[in-house]
Amino acid sequence: MEPSNKEVTRRQFMSAAVAAMSSLIGAAVGLPAIAYIISPALKKKAEDWVRLGAISKVELGSPTLFKTTIERQTGWITDQEEVSAFVLSEDGQNYAAISNVCTHLGCRVRWIAEQEKFFCPCHNGVFGKDGSVISGPPPRPLDRLETKVENGVLFIRRG
């Protein structure tokens, strides 16, 4: 260090010491406070696979509706949430999960086996077996959900 010819006065030293301690206390409270406020954003979103049911229930070539209830945790409140999706398999090897929520305004679509189409009761949206739009107001095909099969049990990933 270079010798300084400027002498630090008692007052300057005290000011610096008070400032340093204040900053220290400010940081000790301020940083946890920021972490506390942004806590919901820090939480990792649980990547949860929802167990739908046994693949043996899927009728080959026809969309089968699976329904299950899952527990959802928001804060300290646990809610029951119903998850449902159509599962379609043509070959018994590959499974596609098709959301039963109409892409128009969110009504639940119904599979009418005789016509081989999904119908939405709200505004007459019609979808094909693969979820593609045939007629009506829906702007895009029914959503596909990611699937996996483990030991004969089908899972979908909650979107």
Binding site: V29, P32, A33, A35, Y36, I37, I38, S39, L42, G75, W76, I77
Partner: protein, 219 residues
């Protein structure tokens, strides 16, 4: 840079004079006991900050109060720390306020011309005790519930108006959602307003009149 900004602001607000009046006061020769008031003020500030933070997650209803407190303590990042500061700060407030009062009393610092400073100080002690009493119920656990049951019961033995005090304090005959709601309202609105009002007068007088010197042997 900061000097220029300071000058710019000073030209408009004359803040340096205010700063000097508050922080560059001449003070008599005093000892460490004279820091008790400042210590109380510091903890009060900490209580305000941590208290505001707690209201972000806390819900004052019987079906959510306890769970939200547990959530703060176990799930929220640094929640245990913020709540811990508020919890221990509450005890520190009472202890520091009383010590500060004792110092003032034994040094005779309440005498002319500081009677009003003393008076507001005594009222501030009541406010601090009020904070402690109302805040104790908010976690809504067994300890909180029964402490408030007993506390309001004690107030209820006052001759004549006792039963009336109980109903006002509890918002009814029994401890209920009404009790929790009014204790919460008192804790976060009524008492803070009273604290800030009294504290403003208290601090103004300290700056305006100045503080006493420690009394000497020959006085």
């Amino acid at each position: 840079m900061t000097t220029r900004l300071g000058d710019w602001l000073d030209e408009r607000f004359d803040w340096r004079r205010v700063w000097a009046a508050i922080f560059l006061r001449k003070i008599p020769h005093v000892n460490w006991l004279y820091t008790l008031g400042s210590a109380t003020l510091f903890v009060a500030g900490l209580q305000i900050v941590t208290g505001i933070l707690l209201t972000i997650y806390y819900v004052p209803t019987p079906d959510h109060a306890y769970d939200s407190v547990v959530y703060i303590t176990t799930q929220v990042t640094a929640g245990w720390f913020i709540r811990g500061l508020h919890h221990w700060g509450a005890s520190a407030m009472v202890i520091l306020t009383v010590l500060h009062l004792l110092r003032t009393f034994f040094y005779g610092a309440y005498k002319y011309p500081r009677e009003v400073t003393w008076l507001t100080g005594v009222l501030l002690l009541l406010v601090v005790v009020g904070f402690g009493f109302t805040g104790y119920l908010l976690p809504w656990d067994q300890k909180a519930y029964w402490a408030t049951t007993v506390g309001t019961e004690i107030a209820g033995v006052a001759p004549g108006i006792g039963p009336w005090i109980i109903r006002v304090a509890r918002g009814g005959e029994e401890l209920s959602a009404l009790t929790l709601a009014r204790f919460f309202g008192a804790h976060v609105w009524v008492l803070p307003a009273a604290l800030l009002a009294l504290l403003s007068i208290h601090l103004y007088l300290i700056i305006r009149i100045g503080i006493t010197a420690a009394p000497g042997r020959d006085e």
